[in-house]
Amino acid sequence: MSLSPGATGHLNGLLLPETGSVRLFNELVSDNLAKARQTVGMIFQDADSQIVGETVYDDTAFGPENLGLGQDEVKKRVLSALQAVGLLNHRDQRPHTLSAGEKRRLAIAGVLAMEPRVIVFDEPFSNLDFPGVRQVLKQIISLHQSGHTILVSTHDIEKIIAHATRLIIMKDGKIVKNGSPEGLMEVLEDFGVRAPCPFRMGREAESWLN
C-alpha cells in the first residue's frame, strides 16, 4: 500500500520519468508500454471520466477489445469481470444511471477484464458515501484475496489502513518512509496525513467493514 500525491501514473507508462527509469517485473516500462498497461491496471479517482462505454457491458469490453482478443474471449472476460464486481445484472444499463459506488466498481471491472497482476487505486474512496466506501473496500479486499497486488494511493488512509500490509509515504515525488503501517503511524502527521482515529485514541486500527 502506498501513499503518494499523484505519482502512480509512472507505473504503467502514462507518465514517463524525466530522469532515471521505472522497472516493472524487471522490464523497463518505456520498452513496452502496452504490456505495462496490461500488467498494471489503474482505477482513477474520477470514475465518470474513466468510463468510456455506452453500457456497462460495452465499457468492460473496452480494454479487452483494445488488446485485440477474439470475440469469445472478450465476452468471457467481460462476464467474469462483471460477475466479480457484482454488476452482472446491470450489464445493459447505461453507466450514467449507476450510483457512485457502482460506477467505481464498473471502473474496477473494466480494468479486471484486462487481467492485470497489479491494480492501482487512486483515491478510491473520494466522493463516496459510507455504503459506497464499504462496497469498494470489499472489492479491493476480494481482489487482493484472488491474488492481485493492490496499491492504494490516498490521503485518506483511515478507511484502508486496517487491511494494509505495507505503507509507503511519498513527498515531492520521493519515497520518504517505507515500512509496516503500525510502525509509521507516529510520523504520518509530519507529512500532512492525519493519523487514523483509532490510533489517536490509542487503539488498534479497525476495519471499515466491521
Binding site: G9, N12, L14, A34, R37, Q38, G41, M42, F44, D46, D48, S49, Q50, I51, V52, G53, E54, T55, Y57, D58, A61, F62, G63, P64, E65, N66, L67, G68, L69, G70, Q71, V74, D92, R94, P95, H96, G110, V111, M114
Partner: protein
C-alpha cells in the same frame, strides 16, 4: 438529464431487436427517403405501421413525447412558416398575414413527415445496442479509404456516452451561479459568457482525463470488432421494407 432518458436502448427479444444493425440502418435510410415525398395516404399507411411497431416493442410513448416537447415547438414553427408563406386560396386573413388552404395542407404534410422520421430514429435507438450501431457505421465506412472507420466509430460511442455528462456539468455550473445570484444580472450576454467559459473549461479538463483513462486501457485502432451477422430474417425484412418503401412512393 431528463431530456435524454427515452432515446436509449430497451433490452428485449423482439424480431426488431434481433435484426442486424446494418440492415436496420439501411431500413431507416430507405424509409426516410421514401417518406420525404410521401402524400397523405402514404403517411397514413406509415402511421399505421409505426403504431403497430410501438405496440410490438412496448415503446413508452408518453415519456418520449414529453421529452420531445422542444421538438414540437420547432415543428409548430415549421408548420406556421409553411402555412403563412404558401400562396393559395386564403382560409383566414389577419392584417398582412394570410393563411391559405394549400399552406395548411403543406404544413401538416411536412410536420407529419418529420414526426414519422423522428419516430423511425427512436425505433432504431430503442431496439439496437449503441455498440451495434457503432459497428454498423464502421462496417459501412470501412470501404471508404479516406475515412478512418474505427476512429469514427469510437468517436460516435464517446459522444453518446458523454452527452449526459456534459448536461450534468452544465446543470452544476448553472446551479453554482444561481447560488451566487447570477439571476440578478439582467444582461444575457454577460450571463452567457460567465456560463460558457467555465463549462467549456470543465469539459476540456474531463476530456483530458478521458484520454488518460483510455490510454491506461491500451486504446488503439487495431481493436476487436463486435460481430455482426445477418440471417434469413434480415433479408426477409429487407424485402418487406423495400415493398413498403415502393408502396409509399407509389401512393
Amino acid at each position: 438529464m431528463a431530456e435524454l432518458t427515452t432515446f436509449h436502448y430497451y433490452p428485449g427479444h423482439s424480431t426488431l431487436h434481433l435484426l442486424d444493425a446494418r440492415f436496420k440502418l439501411v431500413f431507416m435510410i430507405l424509409i426516410s427517403i421514401a417518406s420525404l415525398s410521401a402524400g397523405l395516404a402514404a403517411l397514413g399507411v406509415l402511421t399505421f405501421v409505426y403504431a403497430a411497431l410501438v405496440l410490438y416493442i412496448h415503446l413508452p410513448l408518453k415519456p418520449a413525447f414529453r421529452e420531445l416537447r422542444y421538438f414540437f415547438v420547432l415543428i409548430f414553427f415549421i408548420f406556421m412558416a409553411r402555412a403563412l408563406t404558401t400562396p393559395g386560396t386564403p382560409v383566414f386573413e389577419f392584417f398582412i398575414f394570410s393563411v391559405s388552404r394549400q399552406g395548411l395542407y403543406q404544413g401538416v404534410l411536412v410536420c407529419w413527415r418529420l414526426l414519422l422520421i423522428t419516430l423511425l430514429g427512436l425505433f432504431l435507438v430503442a431496439t439496437t445496442r449503441s455498440s451495434e450501431i457503432r459497428s454498423a457505421v464502421e462496417w459501412f465506412l470501412t470501404p471508404i479509404r479516406f475515412i478512418p472507420g474505427k476512429r469514427v466509430a469510437t468517436m460516435i460511442g464517446l459522444i453518446i456516452r458523454f452527452i449526459p455528462l456534459v448536461f450534468d456539468q452544465a446543470k452544476m455550473t448553472a446551479d453554482a451561479q444561481k447560488a451566487r445570484g447570477v439571476e440578478l444580472r439582467k444582461n444575457p450576454v454577460y450571463r452567457l459568457i460567465k456560463f460558457t467559459i467555465p463549462l467549456i473549461r470543465r469539459i476540456f479538463e474531463d476530456a483530458d482525463k478521458l484520454v488518460l483513462a483510455m490510454e491506461a486501457r491500451c486504446y488503439n485502432e487495431d481493436r476487436t470488432n463486435i460481430g455482426l451477422s445477418s440471417s434469413r430474417t434480415d433479408w426477409l425484412a429487407l424485402l418487406m421494407v423495400l415493398c413498403l418503401a415502393i408502396l409509399i412512393t407509389a401512393l
